[in-house]
Amino acid sequence: MKRLNPYLTGGITPDWIDYLLAYQEAGANGVEIGLPFSDPMLDGTTIQQASDQALRRGATVASILTDLTAARDRIHIPLFAMTYANLVFRGDPFATAPAATDAGRGGHRTLTEGGPEAFCRRLADAGVAGLIVPDVPLDEVDRLEAAAAAAGIDLVLLAAPVTPPDRLAEIGRRSRGFIYAVSVMDTTGERDALATTAAPLAARLKAVTDLPVLLGFGISTPAQAATAARAGDGVVIGAALMRRVLDGASPDDLRAEVAAFRAALDQVDQEVPAAPAHAEISGHRR
């Protein structure tokens, strides 16, 4: 089954959990929850606006995880948190004072204050299955990778069209859950057509990993999603959905939007002969 992971900015509206449930009802396989950051380096205008709106409402990592925890019984699909390094590395979002480990360093300001270890534990406690941090590339990932593994969180790594073969292979080895293929050399946002770089990247990734390859960035319509899904194992849909939410669309409206993407991917599944079992594994662990 081709995977559909729609994106939702946590806390974007007071009833944001209703959008999440609507995504689930519409056939999403997982949902990417954006934990809003003031300076999102890889996001285009729409996701930036969504993050700004959530932050203006007072959304925090803590409040979003609290909302998720409260809705846990109603959520049956995996959730993947997506956020930026500053929120992950600055430490425990629930700490109001430096963690005890800092006191032993003479009160000197350190990078820990809970750090990614506490961050990942909190995600796990809230029922979040995975984490995506686009500004932590392989070169900086060691500590976060260990923290995620210790907390039982899948750290999903990203690959880009310009990623050279040796890095791509390492990303394939070290990613968990799935691999996020950034299909275009651009920020997030809607595009008129699927980027020509999407399919070649998916093919290169599938040659180096058994993990599912999900394509994201600029996939804006069900038709584009179908094209992308033929190249990979599924898609992430972000800006196209968040623009609708920003424009005031209701959870019911978004249920219909996501259902249209689901239908397009189901159509692709019907085109493809039954895949061998190894292509259908959940991919959580190899």
Binding site: F37, S38, D39, P40, M41, L42, D43, G44, Q48, D52, L55, T60, V61, A62, Y84, A85, N86, L87, F89, R90, P93, T96, H108, R109, T110, L111, E113, P134, D135, V136, P137, L138, D139, E140, L157, L158, A159, A160, P161, V162, T163, P164, R167, I171, V182, M185, D186, T187
Partner: protein
């Protein structure tokens, strides 16, 4: 000052926190910089540009009246006399040469006060490249003159309307634009922040300030002082004196003091001290000087500060305006609001234990105040 580690660290600060899309570009830039920096022909060309085009070496001016008034010997390193009116040209000429060497045809830059944007537009014109400069709407409003200069030089100035509409957001937008244009464009970063190798690269290109000053001063000064936003003029100045007994003092805007009030964090591709709230959201800095309106500081400054090799102080906008007036009336030099932060600290500290009478002070005037006339007209009586 030290060479960063293989991962671009100065102590615990620095690094390369960028999307995978930008990792190859950062790696290619690092390789090109290492190659160029080991090439005598590159240095020769850069030195010629600095001399024949930028007007280096810049003067070292004894501030005689102020020195007599304050009881210290104050020497001014005159980056305001460099072409385009600030130290920014040092960095940009080097990066443009590097970009040309890498086959790039376009420069993307962020700017706050506009001085880095003007320098980038200038180098692009000189090298026959396109220049796209991202500038916050709020800064565009208060730095009109520099916007006109950039446009006259042929650069495209793109207003940034997100967030605080200042340098922080212009930097985000420039980095996003770089992702989409990485094949043809070099991101000509203006300060000692950003992902590795930028903090190192920019400091090496600004090192000329400190090295010239060192050669121009008859004695090693007791104190070396420079303003700090991102911190490029201070990094370049300090580089000339870090191996001496001189105290190194960086002066921040009270409303934008990442060294003083920041906490460890990651923004704009590097880990350093960052102004942020309890939730990790980056705060908007506030300063009368658009160039210091920035919530982060270069990672090497964070390292120098935490190891104690450099000290960091803050001054208020009111002190800065007073410093502009004092320097103008005593020495006939109208300096940039940014540079006036360093002057303001000297005015406050002279004769105190922080800067005892009889001290020799080397102060980098990072730029001239022409760009600030609209602000100053309303503020300085």
């Amino acid at each position: 000052m030290s060479v960063p580690t293989a991962t671009g660290r100065f102590g615990e600060f620095g690094g390369r926190y960028v999307p995978e899309s930008l990792v190859p570009a950062c790696a290619a830039l690092e390789a090109a910089f290492r190659d160029a920096w080991a090439d005598p022909a590159f240095h020769e060309r850069l030195a010629r540009l600095r001399q024949d085009y930028a007007g280096r070496p810049t003067a070292l001016t004894p501030a005689e009246t102020l020195s007599a008034q304050l009881g210290v010997t104050l020497l001014l390193k005159r980056e305001d006399l460099a072409h385009t009116g600030s130290h920014k040209i040092n960095n940009v000429l080097g990066q443009a040469l590097l970009a040309q060497r890498m086959g790039k045809t376009r420069l993307i830059a962020e700017t706050g006060a506009g001085q880095h944007g003007v320098a980038t537009a200038t180098a692009a014109a000189l090298f026959g490249m396109r220049a796209t400069v991202y500038m916050g709407e709020r800064d565009i409003a208060r730095q009109r003159l520099n916007v006109f200069r950039m446009e006259l030089l042929g650069a495209e100035v793109i207003p940034v309307t997100s967030g605080s509409r200042t340098l922080k957001d212009a930097t985000n937008e420039a980095m996003r634009a770089w992702v989409a244009a990485v094949d043809e464009a070099h991101f000509c970063l203006g300060s000692v922040g950003g992902p590795h190798p930028y903090p190192w690269l920019v400091r090496e290109l600004q090192r000329v300030i400190g090295e010239e000053a060192r050669a121009q001063t008859p004695v090693i000064p007791d104190v070396v002082v420079a303003c700090v936003g991102g911190g490029s003029n201070a990094a370049g100045t300090f580089a000339g004196f870090v191996d001496t007994p001189a105290r190194l003092i960086g002066v921040e805007a009270a409303g934008g003091a990442a060294m003083t009030n920041g906490r460890p964090g990651v923004v704009h591709g590097y880990r350093s001290l960052v102004l942020q709230d309890a939730d990790g959201q980056v705060l908007e800095a506030e300063s009368i000087a658009a160039g210091l309106d920035y919530p982060g500081v270069g990672p090497e400054h964070a390292h120098l500060g935490t190891t104690g090799r450099a000290e960091y102080r803050t001054v208020t906008d009111t002190e800065v305006l007073d410093a502009v007036r004092r320097l103008a009336r005593s020495e006939g030099i109208i300096c940039a609001l940014e540079s006036a932060h360093a002057v303001a600290w000297v005015l406050r500290a002279a004769g105190t234990p922080d800067l005892p009478t009889g001290s020799t002070v080397l102060l980098t005037l990072s730029g001239r105040g022409d760009k600030d006339m609209a602000t100053l007209a309303g503020e300085v009586a």
